[in-house]
């Protein structure tokens, strides 16, 4: 293993970019193509059913069946997977060639690139997809006649696109999936298209994602220009070779890819679409906007990590954006009242952790956190959905209280508590280990800025614990009290209807999955085995091809030679500090939101009365006015420009130029029309005048000596 000066600067796993093993071509794995085909078939069938206005739950069950089969296929692939990465060619797709060299051709076959990272990602994508689709068959039943089939068509399209994104063998397939999940996201956010807020949210998500997608597209173009290929199997072998274009172009690639990742994963300035995306049905929020799609940005960076390793400054930027977004979103989440919105901001915040991990060099930590987060966040969203389903759309934590004491909601409440503990990184929960993996890389770093980000992340973990339990203590604990939401259909007294088996089953399986997600860490901690997630990263692009042993060796080297923080190793220090912050946050929430709820209000009033910081609660509740600032900075100027251009187009270009040209014949006609009044003599005047002029010209020319 070679240590280049660049990679040696990075904390965490030490990587060399050129160590990604060469892929072998494995046509015998062609059956994996069904993982791509099944959701596509299901999408087509559901679309047909939507067109035929099929009544009943057939589309839902079809989707569950196809996604389940897909999951089984992935499991089979997991079992039979060879050591190194494989390329599974499925079909010819794009193949252009216009010259002798690599730079005169573009090859992008319909093929799969399977390494452990792919399988790892597909396991939780297809697994959670199946469970959430199962959940949705019951959750969406009130819509059976209207949009049921449309909903499942959207889910199937999403799964197809996500599969193409993760399993595709080149950047073009990744881009196809990238845009596909964006489309599915748009369709599902705007599922209730009669609601203006849902339509606006869908448009917002789509447009904000445009910015990121532009970056991704440019990044892919530049990749091709620099390396002459967009096939992973070739790209990672030659990345690091001197590029065709100058260093400037090569250095730009990770920044552009990063922009795409930030857009899709709601990071940095592009996070604003995700909270609004909660307008979609809750299963969509759980599947797309919490567990899977938003992690596509993490996957993109993990997949293209060899390209990022060439530009350590780019990774630093990723770390900073991730760390700051985590903190920023947590501050907003503390002041929201809508349960789904709080979970949305927590998603942004947790995604920030993942990017922080990527930036700090611990792709293992980032992917581990992605994995655990997918489970506990899906669990939280599904319980929120159960509440919403049962209380006619009510999600305001000021109007819900003591749900755990209502029959039928007990199980939901306890699984919500499980999710909340995991989100709060309660000691020895799965997220505790994954978060610890990330934060210890920061805290134990040689670099001061990374140390700062580590401590900021620890502080943010405390905030996370506070706002998570603020929600749980408010809504699920305390005295029983509830007001139904706006979607009350039946007259008379309102009775919350509790979830039935499909929803409960999904929540239970996912909750158990969240618990089990921590198993690799327990295994590594107590049985001193290798961490399963680390094993799944081994040899993949995410760790630059480093194997488990090398990773572990790096780990150990870092642990022994790394900074002693607070007199302990970085890991231990992070664990302790994280526990303290987490439990502290939970205790504060316990006091303010369960034991003495009036104290929260008086505290809020006290802060508002303080001169210098009195504005903070209102601003946090209004999301720090980011939407308003964006509106003023981007939307209003564009709106004004658009109207000015529209005015110019309508009144100057259209009315002046186009209509002017159009009406010129009739104007000219108005001049000559009197000559054609139908009276013979007026024609004769014209004719004789013409003859006279011709004669005069002839005479003139002749006399001048012409001809």
């Amino acid at each position: 293993m070679t240590l280049s000066p660049i990679t040696s600067m990075l904390p965490g796993t030490m990587l060399a970019s050129s160590d990604v093993p060469a892929a072998t071509i494995a046509p015998e794995f062609a059956w994996l193509g069904w993982a791509l085909a099944l959701p596509a078939i299901s999408a087509l069938a559901c679309t047909l059913m939507a067109l035929c206005k099929v009544k009943g739950k057939l589309p839902g069950w079809l989707t569950v069946a196809s996604l389940g089969t897909c999951f089984v296929l992935i499991l089979k692939a997991y079992q039979s997977m060879p050591e190194g990465p494989i390329v599974v060619p499925l079909a010819e797709w794009m193949s252009f060639s216009w010259g002798p060299s690599d730079f005169h051709s573009l090859q992008a076959a319909l093929e799969l690139y399977i390494d452990r990272l792919t399988i790892f990602w597909m396991l939780f994508v297809s697994g959670l997809g199946t469970l959430i689709a199962l959940y949705a068959t019951e959750y969406m039943e009130h819509d059976v006649k209207a949009g049921y089939a449309r909903f499942f068509a959207g889910v199937s399209i999403f799964l197809f696109a996500m599969t193409a994104l993760v399993m595709g063998g080149n950047l073009l397939l990744l881009y196809l999936g990238w845009e596909g999940v964006g489309l599915a996201s748009y369709m599902l956010i705007g599922y209730f298209f009669t609601r203006p807020s849902a339509v606006a949210a869908a448009k917002k998500a789509f447009i904000v994602n445009r910015i990121g997608d532009l970056g991704l597209a440019l990044g892919i173009f530049l990749t091709w220009r620099c390396y002459g290929t967009i096939e992973y199997s070739e790209l990672f072998q030659i990345a690091g070779n001197p590029p065709r274009d100058g260093p400037w172009e090569e250095a730009l690639i990770p920044y552009l890819l990063m922009l795409g990742a930030f857009g899709k994963s709601a990071q940095g300035p592009l996070y604003v679409w995700l909270p609004d995306a909660m307008e979609g049905p809750t299963p969509v929020s759980a599947l797309i906007h919490a567990a899977t799609m938003v992690t596509a940005g993490v996957f993109l960076i993990a997949r293209c990590y060899p390209l990022f390793l060439l530009q350590p400054d780019a990774l630093t930027v990723v770390a900073w954006i991730g760390g700051l977004t985590a903190f920023w979103a947590a501050t907003i989440g503390m002041a929201q009242y809508d349960m789904k919105r709080v979970w949305a901001y927590s998603t942004i915040s947790q995604l920030g952790y993942m990017f922080l991990g990527l930036g700090l060099g611990t792709t293992f930590g980032a992917c581990f956190h992605t994995f655990t987060h997918a489970f506990f966040k899906a669990c939280l969203f599904l319980t929120a959905g159960a509440v919403m389903h049962g209380f006619a759309g009510q999600l305001d934590i000021r109007k819900l209280s003591g749900l755990s004491k209502i029959p039928g909601f007990r199980m939901v409440s306890w699984f919500a508590l499980l999710g909340a503990l995991w989100l709060a990184a309660f000691p020895f929960s799965a997220a505790f280990f994954s978060k610890d993996e990330i934060l210890s890389a920061g805290v134990g770093s040689d670099r001061a800025d990374f140390q700062f980000l580590g401590w900021l992340g620890l502080f943010t973990a405390g905030l996370t614990a506070y706002y998570t339990f603020r929600v749980w203590f408010r809504a699920f604990a305390g005295p029983v009290h509830f007001e139904p939401g706006e979607e009350v259909h039946a007259h008379g007294e309102f009775h919350p209807h509790s979830p039935r088996w499909a929803m409960k089953l999904s929540i239970a399986i996912i909750g158990i999955g969240a618990v089990l997600a921590g198993y690799p860490a327990y295994e590594a901690m107590f049985l001193h085995k290798e961490n399963w997630v680390q094993w799944m990263m081994a040899g993949s692009t995410a760790v630059g091809g480093a194997g488990v042993v090398e990773q572990a060796a790096d780990h150990a080297a870092e642990a022994s030679s790394g900074h002693q923080v607070l007199g302990m190793s970085a890991h231990a220090a992070t664990s302790v500090a994280g526990s303290i912050f987490g439990i502290g946050g939970i205790l504060i929430a316990l006091y303010l939101h369960l034991i003495r709820r009036s104290a929260a209000d008086s505290l809020r009033r006290a802060i508002q009365a303080t001169p210098l910081i009195g504005w903070i609660p209102g601003a946090a509740e209004n999301k720090w006015y980011v939407d308003e600032i964006y509106n003023a900075v981007f939307c209003v100027p564009l709106w004004v420009t658009g109207h000015v251009l529209h005015f110019i187009d309508k009144h100057i270009l259209d009315a002046g130029v186009v209509d002017g040209i159009g009406s010129s014949p009739s104007l000219v006609g108005r001049v000559f029309r009197p000559l054609y009044g139908g009276v013979l003599q007026s024609y004769a005047v014209t004719m004789a005048g013409g003859v006279g002029l011709i004669l005069a010209w002839l005479a003139y020319t002749w006399l001048r000596g012409g001809f």
Binding site: Q681, S682, V685, A688, G689, V691, G692, L693, L695, A696, L698, A699, Y700, W702, L703, R704, G705, G706, F707
Partner: protein
Amino acid sequence: MVKGSGLRYRTYAPILPPPRCPRTGGTVLVTPPMVPIELLAGGALGAAGLLLILLRGGHTVHRTGGAIAALGGLAILAGGAGLGAPTAGESGFSFPLLVALLAGVMSAAGAVRVISSPRPVLAAIFFVLVVVAGCMLYLTLGAEFLAFALVIVYAGAILITYMFVLMLAQQASGDSKSGAAEYDRNARDPIAAVFVGLVLFLSIATIMWKAVDSFDPATTGQIQRARAWIALGELPKGLREAVESVEPGATPEAGTLHVSAGEVSLQVTKADGSRGSVTLPESSLPHNTQTVGVALVKQFPVSLELAGVILLMAMLGAVVLARRQIEIGDAQKAELHARSHGGAA
């Protein structure tokens, strides 16, 4: 070309040789006006007069002023054409020219009256005046046959037809006090009409005026009378008799006719067989009627035939057009039917 002078020298066609300075013989750098000044002045004045006459058909002041202006313009034109130019040699003035001037003024004034008279009958009568004046001009140009043919055909036939048609049509529409219909009293768009006429006149007249500059006196005169015979290769009877009277027994040779100033000479084979030349007085040449007749029959027979065909077709056409076409409505039919039945009963 004079170099360094600011004026540009203009190349002229052979028709208009560059003017020479009388003193030095060099090229004069001043270009003469494109349109002869007489044409311009006379045309403009005449057009103004014509416009005045046409604009307000019935108004006396306008008509008088217009008539004076038109006549003035006419005088300028006629005088400029006939007398204005310096004449070469002996006298620039001759009796035929005087007659031609008179006839020309008469003709043009008559034409003005034709188009300005509010009563169509008067217009037709003034047209007769134009024809007669034209006849006089033809005579001065030595076209006696055509002069009389013109009077016979136009005054005798065409104008009479017009008169009949006028009588046929005018009886119904002849209205009111002045005896002229409204559409006869008011000209339509006289400004445009006069303007177009002026443009045409200036163009045509300028070309013709300049064309006369290339006039070669040698080609005119009696040659035209002889040319047909020369082309014919055959001599007219009168000429042969004249030869007989001068040189009895001599046989004139066709194609040797030569006309020079005041004299006619031709080759003959004398009675004794020797060849010689005979000179005859000019009066022994055939007259215009003879030459035109011979030219028509011998030189342009196809045009004669064509003229006949055209006349035949015109006759047929006139018959077809003028035949009364009666359109009978249903009521009229029933009436006719009833009348015929009533007559029978």
